[in-house]
């Protein structure tokens, strides 16, 4: 069927029987141990008290996505070097594993197919796979040795596991070379790497009986390394081979800035302090961690020298779950400073190659602290302000419409049906930067002649700050009230200039009440881009300084709105200069996750780092589309440019459009 049956090789030739038996016994024991450990970890996941979030995508969709994830490594190749290295290793490993399975089938089953041209081509492919595996591994080892990056874990465990893989790869090629060197059969030239090594061995005087003895020793070493590998699969960095794909496909597909739903009930308090209080998916994800440290590298808090290292939080969750321990779980050793440093910008989630929801776990731990009363005073003050005054700034509610003084604003009457609701938000109502944006938006809306309304004093905080800071119950209260208000007004369309409100309305309120969103939600940058594209706003050219756009995390990374604000700026003929980190790799302004009110000290300030990036572009204007970002960057501007003669201006896209429209 496959040609000449003489073109093949003797499987386990020259291998003593006892060694072959020892290998089989060792392999069975190692695989059995791996199965037991993996089974134990999976069984522990079933002990998780909190139900997992229902996946947003269907089963087939997730399977297809998982296969695509494996085949193309899109997530991994965001770090190009590591992505290609892993791709080589992965495909090399798959090919080697397939080759081993072929050999097993030929040797230990009645099947007979490993001969002729099939054997020759299989040998070629397996050799190339082995070479790819070794190249990928050497790329990783080279970077590990040469790079001074803090994100790379260094330790004897990681090093020994890497050495084991190297030993498997190198011993496999040497074994093949020794086998071929015994008699140098001409059909083995398809085994390009093995034949080359055999020629080298022959040149070194190793052939015949000497090569047979080499083959026996190398076979034993290779088999021992493989058995060790089988047994170590559920440990350390190898663990991601089992859990990585499951993690990447289990909960994927949700917007990055959407927090998982926290089911509340008499028996189920929100939040977690021990691993049992997390969800099954959380535990699965923790096991999938590859310890690559990309989350640490992307984290703005870590970059600013704050104590948060997202990888450490995930590893603490993973390691706090002893595989065999039956004792009551201990609280996770994550300090308050670590927890409250997070800005919930989701940069860690974006960077993670196996799709771990890192900041979701941080928020879960925050919820646990809130339930036990262990929150910083500033956080407690924010909660009380939201509960008592319905805004996180603690300003009296009577000031909510102070921004509208002197401009014509259409405030909705009670229960008046609203075609287009402009949701001003607390930042737009109470902060000077936000008020300027709200005024600009109202002027634009008046210019457009659209039948819009604002809710005025009926508006309340969406609950986003409270939710990010761990107060799930308060968020539910705010959501319930706002949904009731919106339903009473029969709102058809909602626009807001605050990405946090936008994210809450679009992604999180439907979780509170699945019948909650008969309205469409738009961010004001989408709305303005739409109006400009349809010709309702002319957005006249504004000769002026170059502009750089800061992507708000909850707008860009969280909801994939990147193009619209840039299209507005381009339409105004403003020269757009991008910062080094933009788009989905944008850097946080430092206000999210309650950091607007909480401040964990670091070596630097996050907003100052971001402002420096913006100033480095040479632009004269920092445009943004979030009142919180505007506030933070403006504060950084004041800190940096106190003595500068020509400081940067920080403006919202709505302010730029209003200026261009002359309204």
């Amino acid at each position: 069927m496959f040609g000449d049956e003489a073109i093949t090789r003797e499987i386990m030739g020259h291998v003593p029987r006892w060694l072959a038996v020892a290998f089989y016994v060792g392999a069975v024991v190692a695989c059995g141990a791996t199965a037991v450990v993996v089974g134990r970890r999976v069984w522990q996941c079933r002990l998780a008290r909190r139900p997992s979030e229902v996946a947003t995508a269907g089963t087939w969709h997730r399977i297809v996505r998982g296969l695509r994830y494996l085949a193309f490594h899109e997530q991994l190749r965001r770090d190009r070097f590591a992505g290609w290295a892993h791709l080589l290793m992965f495909y090399g490993f798959v090919i080697l594993f397939a080759g081993t399975c072929l050999v097993f089938l030929e040797h230990d089953t009645p099947l007979h197919f490993y001969y002729g041209w099939f054997y020759q081509w299989a040998s070629l492919v397996i050799d190339l796979g082995g070479v790819a595996f070794l190249i990928g591994l050497l790329m990783f080892l080279g970077r590990r040795a040469s790079s001074g990056s803090q994100r790379i874990l260094r330790g004897w465990r990681v090093t020994s596991l890497s050495a084991l893989l190297l030993a498997i790869g190198v011993s496999g090629f040497l074994l093949e070379g020794a086998r071929i060197a015994v008699d140098l059969p001409p059909h083995e030239t398809y085994s390009v790497a093995g034949y080359g090594i055999a020629l080298l061995l022959r040149a070194a005087g190793i052939g015949g009986e000497t090569a047979v003895r080499w083959q026996q020793w190398l076979w034993g070493g290779h088999a021992a390394a493989c058995v060790a590998f089988f047994g170590l699969v559920p440990w350390g960095v190898f663990r991601h081979m089992v859990f990585g794909l499951a993690s990447a496909t289990a909960t994927g597909g949700k917007p990055l800035s959407r927090l998982p739903v926290a089911p509340l009930g008499p028996e189920l308090a929100p939040g977690a302090t021990t691993w049992r209080q997390f969800s099954r998916n959380d535990l699965l994800e923790a096991d999938a961690c590859t310890t690559c440290g990309r989350c640490n590298e992307a984290c703005p808090a870590a970059a600013a020298g704050k104590p948060l290292q997202p990888r450490d939080v995930v590893l603490e969750l993973r390691d706090s779950r002893g595989t065999w321990s039956a004792a009551d779980p201990q609280p996770l050793a994550v300090s308050d400073e670590v927890l409250w440093s997070c800005t919930t910008c989701a940069a860690c989630n974006q960077a993670c190659p196996v799709g771990i929801d890192v900041y979701g776990k941080i928020v879960e731990l925050r919820r646990g602290r809130v339930e036990r009363g262990g929150v910083p005073e500033a956080a407690a003050a924010v909660f009380e302000h939201v509960a008592d005054r319905w805004n996180p700034f603690g300003r009296p509610d009577i000031e909510r419409m102070a921004w509208a003084q002197g401009i014509n604003v259409r405030v909705a009457d009670p229960d008046e049906p609203i075609e287009l609701l402009y949701w001003v938000g607390c930042a737009g109502s109470f902060t000077p930067e936000g008020r300027a944006v709200a005024q600009a938006m109202v002027r634009i809306l008046n210019r457009l002649g659209i039948n819009y309304r604002v809710l005025g004093r009926s508006e309340r905080c969406t609950g986003d700050p409270a939710r990010r800071m761990g107060e799930e119950g308060l968020f539910r209260e705010c959501a319930t009230h706002n949904l009731r208000t919106l339903r009473a007004h029969h709102v058809q369309r909602l626009i807001t200039h605050c990405p946090h409100c936008f994210n809450t309305f679009r992604n999180e309120y439907p979780d509170v009440d699945d019948s909650a969103a008969p309205w469409s939600v738009q961010h004001h940058s989408e709305f303005l881009a739409e109006q400009i594209a349809e010709g309702r706003l002319c957005a006249a050219s504004m000769p002026g300084d170059a502009v750089t756009f800061h992507d708000p995390c909850y707008l860009g990374r969280g909801n994939s709105v990147f193009a619209e604000p840039r299209s507005i700026l381009k339409r105004m003929d403003l020269p757009l200069v991008e910062m080094p980190r933009y788009g989905e790799h944008s850097f946080c302004c430092g206000a999210g996750g309650g950091s607007m009110w909480l401040d964990v000290r670091g070596a630097e300030r996050i907003e100052t780092k971001r402002y420096d990036e913006a100033a480095g572009t040479g632009a004269g204007i920092i445009a943004t589309a979030c009142p919180f970002c505007k506030t933070m960057l403006d504060a950084a501007r004041q800190a940096r440019d106190a003595s500068s003669t020509q400081p940067l201006r920080v403006l919202d896209v709505a302010e730029l459009v209003a200026a261009a429209e002359g309204c």
Binding site: L264, P266, A269, P270, V370, E371, G373, G374, V375, E377, A379, A380, A381, F383, E384, A387, D388, R395, E399, A402, Q405, F430, T431, P432, E471, E472, G473, L474, R476, E477
Partner: protein
């Protein structure tokens, strides 16, 4: 040691109520100090207060039991005081012959006595050691209590927290509120005038070219109107303050429910003397003479105006003083920058009615 906590939420327009921070602190102090558990007493139907106490871990007790149960320490929140007045604290203290301390900022205690920190004003603190029954009224400025999440509050409410009210539930002070005239639109309001003219208009004094509107005139019982007029005249220096103070404070109840007739203004009935800062009433030294500012005042005097409150007042940064921490914090005993003649301060113990009281007193400056 039995501890009773008395709390009440303050009702706010449009909300279900709000438990003041001091009441929250009272609950946590009670829980922290008690070993046998503390009882929280809440007014009837005040479910917010009851839910909070329960969520914090206190037992809910009937209001009546406040008088019948024995306790060693009663901690009263400012919300309860706002609702029932100081009388509540006084009655409790009298019923048990207990020490009564107001404006308490902190309390820590052992099995036999408590060390209480009271607010003595001007950032000063009184450190008082009390033993035996005591009634502590928590200050509005008490430190923030540990946060109780909304989930716990909700669960405490769901579990059927009911406030047990009884016949002995003290009713709030009987207050009859008069009719409230809503403020008119700004455009309809008269142009702002100086204080002198406003005062004259209120009393219908002076040759106002436009007719004095009825609502500008004080309409009251004769005694009240007379008392207010005397206060105004004393304020302007036309009569001595002793005369004004001699007016009875307790206004008798009106003899009839009917409102008195509006009397015509006594415009220009009295020849008023021009008021100058130089020549006052003669009753007070020139430096102590008080009168409203006028446009004719010196620039320094006119400059002492309150800050205008505009829409952007919140946006304006408050001037920061580098030494504000030194100036505003309680004075340290070894403060090197204490002004001569006023410090250094020392803690002096003295015997008084409150045994064991420790106060901060200024030491006589060594000369």
């Amino acid at each position: 040691m039995r501890i009773a906590v008395v709390i009440a939420s303050e009702a706010d327009a449009g909300t279900a109520g709000r438990l003041p921070a001091g009441d929250r602190a009272a609950v946590h102090w009670g829980i922290g100090l008690s070993r046998d558990g503390c009882c929280a007493h809440c007014p009837a139907a005040d479910e917010m207060a009851a839910a909070y106490a329960r969520a914090a871990g206190a037992r809910i007790a009937a209001w009546d039991e406040l008088r019948t149960l024995s306790w060693d320490l009663a901690v009263i929140g400012p919300g309860a005081i706002d609702r029932y007045g100081d009388r509540l604290a006084g009655e409790l203290a009298e019923s048990k012959e207990a020490e009564l301390l107001f404006d308490v900022l902190h309390v820590e205690g052992g099995p036999r006595s408590w060390r209480v920190t009271c607010n003595a004003g001007c950032e000063a603190r009184d450190l008082v050691t009390v033993s035996g029954p005591a009634v502590l009224v928590v200050s509005h400025r008490a430190p923030r209590a540990p946060y109780i999440s909304r989930y716990r509050l909700t669960m405490a409410s769901v579990e059927g927290v009911t406030c047990v009210g009884g016949e002995g539930d003290p009713s709030p002070p009987h207050i009859i509120w008069g009719p409230v005239t809503p403020r008119g639109p700004r455009a309809q309001q008269p142009a702002p005038v100086d204080a002198q003219t406003r005062g004259a208009r209120v009393f219908g004094i002076g040759g106002s070219p436009e007719p004095v509107r009825e609502r500008a005139v004080i309409v009251e019982e004769p005694q009240t109107a007379a008392r207010l007029l005397l206060r105004y005249l004393a304020h302007r220096g036309f009569v001595s303050r002793t005369v004004a103070d001699a007016a009875p404070l307790d206004v008798p109840q009106p003899l009839s429910a009917a409102r008195p007739e509006v009397l015509p203004p006594v415009a220009a009935a009295i020849e008023l003397l021009p008021v100058t800062t130089a020549s006052g009433s003669g009753l007070w030294p020139a430096g102590l003479e008080r009168s409203p500012r006028t446009a004719a005042d010196s620039p320094a005097r006119r400059g002492r105006r309150p800050r205008p409150v505009g829409d952007a007042v919140g946006a304006r940064p408050r001037p920061r003083c580098e030494n504000s921490a030194l100036r505003r914090a309680p004075r340290r005993l070894d403060s090197p920058g204490a002004p001569a003649g006023r410090g250094p301060y020392r803690i002096a113990e003295h015997s008084s009615r409150d045994a064991g009281r420790v106060e901060t007193l200024p030491a006589t400056s060594p000369r």
